[in-house]
Symmetry: C4
Subunit: 206 residues, 4 copies
């Protein structure tokens, strides 16, 4: 896929996620792969459904450094940078989305003081690569921090925790979720699947 | 209706069902009739709202064999094949859709350990061919299996069960629903009607 | 407004109401005024979001007789005919819509065995012509019947009941609602207002 | 931004808010800045998603007087005029929207007899300028009045109340919300953020 097509698809996914209410109020974010092994990263603080291909930063996920800035010099790279890069390095995630969906907040509430929620008894689990519909799927839940960058330590621990080896998602209490895939299409599928699982878990708890 | 128009309509219905949240995360499926008495079947594992007319398989519902593969050799026919074919043979269903709607999962939950849910007291029941608004309508609920193809035995039994003779729908616990009609337009109508009934049954139970 | 513009707007309103889930599964209906004092009536049993200007019947609301049939001879006029005509005669309603919204069914449930629901404490009441936001607004609830035409006696009684003189809506238990206005724009406004009131009444009862 | 672009964006925002269900039934309203320091104000009593650039009034927020009427002489300026102008003067709000969302009504219900709701424990709070995700954010709730203009005294008090200095929103019980920003883009962001907060507060209370 060309870099241009990659950026077009990232913009399309942001519009799709916005229509679902997952990146409203300028919240949320997304990244995808460049042709030469670095990362396209959306800017922070902008209305996500209105991001254009020129608005992306090129970031080196090895150290989160900005290789190429966005065309508009007033834009700044998403605070998701460090977390997206952590998922990239630890899991080979070439595309990550950050959700501010209400369903992700309510699903994280189900963890109470615990560090995870478990999801079971749903065919939709099959939509996660490597997961079967009879598995009990653990999704890590980390605590929110004043600044998004400060989540990285907890993210690193969750990514390294064997209990969560099957997860392509980290929930952040009171905040949202990070969801990823090997490529943008898998990230899209996982995004839709996990949001379904969040809604189902919340509805069944009632 | 020409084969081309049939495939165009199947694609349109998939987009419509996706917008409703009924086939998200690459889940769900659809089939419709070819001009010569076989079946167009959507592929598995793809984003259903992006299926194109070239992506359909032609299947013989008599034995589920693929008569003509999709243009793209990497595509595989939907695992719904055996179930769609069973509905085709037992009920003359020329179009079947497979839903992954949350409302279908929550409606199946209402069955508990039972093998059906009963729906009554709703004008919308009239939207099902042959059903009156004062009927008590039984919808079979079968148990989920590790693989979709393994549902066929239970599907065959539900289709042969006199209690469910009026149903154009089979619910699969923890999974979703199969909904059909004599043609694509009836399948669309039944799909909308049954999802309304699922939502109403769940809302009234609260 | 020309007859053509009237029919175009009726089709647009049906698409709008379909997107809201108020006329799904071929349910629901609509009418509007012709230039010469008769009524355009949508057909029955069709997917309402796909109705075209050629599909309307011209009906004389004085006696419900069909003056001009739809272009397609296989179409039949909506069973709403008698009820729309009753609202036209009793209230001067030149446009009536029939909703199958789940919120209308759940709102009618609130009546229990009673013959009305009362709505109060909502600014949105002002959206109903002649109603103030501090009024207690009574909406009649009638019992469903096997056939839609059989509702007419109850509709006539509700329209003649002084308690319901301020209402532009009749709820039918287990079924839906009829909502009208002096013209199509008022009918659209009342339709949106009453559906908001249904949702609010149900949400506040929980 | 040119006056024409401002009016185009105001129309686009009204369509967006209508699709979200926040300005249905002709309810709600919006204003934005003219180039010369006055205010574009939408008309009252019209279907808000259909407002065109020609429909705006130019108002002087210093005294709420109409400087330039709408092109259509039958239009009247929104009753929001006095409240929008109060926010403009007290807070420098160059764009204000008035919501009739059900979530705003249900959120105001949470205040009971109190004069505010407090929102805490949500990352989305950061979407409000100057607010941190660990803040407890107080949103004033005022009582509804028979006419919208009569709300001004309570609005003035809420705007002057130090407890609410961080708020860009005033809830009106049984009615809706006023939400503002320094410019139209901030008003859009705040609108999306506060509606998320309303929905979250209501969902967590259940």
């Amino acid at each position: 896929m060309s870099d241009r097509a990659t950026k077009d698809l990232l913009c399309e996914l942001l519009r799709l996620f916005y229509d679902r209410g997952w990146v409203s109020g300028t919240g949320g974010g997304i990244c995808g792969p460049t042709d030469d092994g670095t990362m396209f990263l959306a800017p922070t603080g902008v209305h996500k459904e209105r991001v254009t291909p020129e608005d992306f930063f090129v970031v080196d996920p090895a150290d989160c450094s900005v290789v190429v800035p966005a065309a508009d010099a007033t834009l700044r790279p998403s605070e998701c940078n460090a977390i997206f890069s952590a998922c990239w390095r630890a899991r080979g995630a070439r595309s990550v989305m950050h959700s501010h969906a209400l369903s992700s907040v309510l699903a994280a509430d189900l963890a109470g003081d615990g560090d995870n929620i478990s999801i079971a008894g749903l065919e939709m689990l099959k939509g996660i690569r490597g997961v079967a519909n009879r598995d009990t799927h653990l999704v890590p839940v980390i605590r929110n921090t004043p600044r998004e960058g400060e989540l990285v330590d907890q993210v690193d621990k969750a990514l390294a925790d064997d209990r969560f080896a099957a997860a392509f998602c980290i929930l952040v209490a009171d905040h949202g979720a990070y969801i990823w895939g090997d490529d943008m299409w898998e990230a899209k599928r996982h995004t839709e699947v996990y949001h379904f699982l969040f809604e189902a878990a919340v509805a069944r708890r009632r």
